[in-house]
Amino acid sequence: MQFYASPEQIMRDRSEYARKGIARGRSVVVLSYEGGVLFVAENLSTALHKVSEIYDRIGFAAVGRYPEFENLRSAGVRLADLHGYSYGRRDVTGRQVANAYARTLGAIFTQESKPYEVEICVAEVGATAADDELYRITYDGSVQDEPGLVTMGGQSDVVSGVVKTRLQPGQTLAEALKLAVEGLAIVGGENGQPRKLAANQLEVAVLDRNRPGRSFRRLTGLALTAILEDTSGTATVAEDGLEDKPQPPASPNTPADNASGPAPSTEKAVEAAGDAPAESGGKPSGDEPEGDEPEGDKPDSK
């Protein structure tokens, strides 16, 4: 029985524990493109999301243990809604949310017996690609501002290496999506060959720069397939494919500006659930929303 462990040793052990957990799952790529911020996650489940909406201009992506980042996600939504309700909608920023996550994860890392095995990206879409803010918050509460690109989870450094070399400002949605998928596919193939990722293995969403009010939209179903399989890469297909959620016209002088909201596309959600009933059955206590962990315990990718 060990009576004394140095603080360095304790922290090192916790870090190692958290990193192992995070590296075990699949990666998520978040990048800026011409029309907004794109989130691409490898996720077989259509019901348990790794990417979601926090507020009007703010999105959330996470890797690691599902119950832990789900808890942080709802805390972020509560924080943003509370702040927006008590002040104004424009007063909610990605930086606030990122800071609250950083401090919370930092406190959990030092005070709890087990750190959270999660890594989070908080993205805020700006008026131009240069104004986009992408924050990466790690399990120990350190927060980094990484303009342009964040990759997390799995062998994120390999994915990042592929995506970074070809990342250009002003990419269209189709170009950015293909690049991200290519990055994700590089990992985990047989004999070092890239895998072929189909639309139903991906969770894709954007924060649409040109959309007033709530800018978060998911890209699903046929539209996603069309972009992935189209080799000519027409941006128009991509724009059409976005779930066109209805939106009331904003009337900025009234409370109605609160309501500029997207609606979840019920029909699509139903279709999607029908396509993959096994996954949407859910694994509420599962560590990973993917449902499969073929890679086993990977070496630390950091």
């Binding site: 909406e53 808890n71 709802s74 805390a75 509560r78 809604d81 509370l82 959620k245």
Partner: protein, 280 residues
């Protein structure tokens, strides 16, 4: 920030609590003073004369959804407090809400209701059912009962496009409320506020089930015109200032507000028709 981080720098436990998707329940935990029903009211019964009041709202079910309209006047006792107040809002992408009664409390209730729906949608990744939305609104009205007894009543009218309806012509639905928080589903059309008696009488003669949206716009503006004609607290179309009723529709395509040009055209058409037969 209304609620700070706790001493360790973490978000307070209420932020991490599992099991609730309701913003107002969350607010009751972390900032109860921000909930409308939780504030102590000063003694006295004369509050009604010092706060602005909003008046007539109409809602009409039409063939492809539902339509809601409201006049633009707010009154304070015998004075006109505001000529261009808006009392009809999109509650979310598929529903509309309007309010009559004390403007300050009503606007706050509308705002809380909008956040409530959006919050649920984000936490649960799905929308509340139309009945669920109406019930949430009813509990907000009920929380205002104390203020209502002192003359600061707020009564909303809720209408929406039901995404789970069997057919489009049955998708438009209207819910009305009383100050005690009762919810009543209405058939065809409904109106609330001081001019509602006249607006309903107007609709009673002209409304036919299955009316098209375009015709319903005219019905709504005309009902508001009739209400304004007989009720001093309801404002009619103001040609000089260019102020016209707010008309919003909820259909399968979501909610939409008719532009001022569109409502102006309808109002002018009605005024032209009435010129020959203004009524006694």
């Amino acid at each position: 920030m209304p609620t700070g981080l706790d001493h360790s720098g973490r978000l307070p436990a209420a932020f991490h609590a599992a099991g609730t998707s309701s913003f107002s329940e969350f607010l009751a935990n972390v900032a109860p003073e921000m909930l409308p029903g939780r504030r102590p009211l000063p003694p006295g019964m004369a509050a009604a004369d010092v706060s602005a009041h909003a008046t007539t709202i109409v809602a009409i079910i039409c063939s492809d959804g539902v339509l809601m309209g409201g006049d633009r006047r707010a009154t304070m006792g015998n004075l006109i407090a505001q000529r261009d107040i808006e009392k009809v809002f999109a509650a979310d992408a598929y529903s509309l809400v309007g309010m009559a009664g004390t403007a300050g409390f009503g606007l706050e209730m509308m705002r809380l209701f909008q956040v409530e729906l959006e919050h649920y949608e984000k936490i649960e990744s799905t929308m509340l059912s139309l009945e669920g939305k109406a019930n949430r609104l009813a509990s907000m009205v009920r929380n205002n009962l104390g203020a209502a007894m002192q003359g600061l009543a707020v009564v909303p009218l809720f209408a929406g496009f039901d995404l789970h309806a069997k057919s489009v012509d049955r998708a438009g639905r209207i819910f009305s409320f009383d100050v005690a928080g009762g919810v009543y589903e209405e058939r065809g059309y409904d109106s609330i506020g001081s001019g509602s008696l006249f607006a309903k009488s107007s609709l009673k003669k002209r409304y036919k089930p299955g009316v098209t949206t375009a015709d319903a716009v005219k019905l709504a503006v005309e009902a508001l015109y009739d209400a304004a004609d007989d009720d001093t607290a309801t404002g009619g179309p103001d040609i000089l200032r260019g102020i016209f009723p707010v008309i919003m529709a909820a259909t399968v395509e979501g909610t939409r507000r008719y532009t001022d040009e569109e409502t102006r055209a309808v109002a002018e058409e009605i005024i032209a028709e009435r010129r020959d037969n203004p009524g006694i």
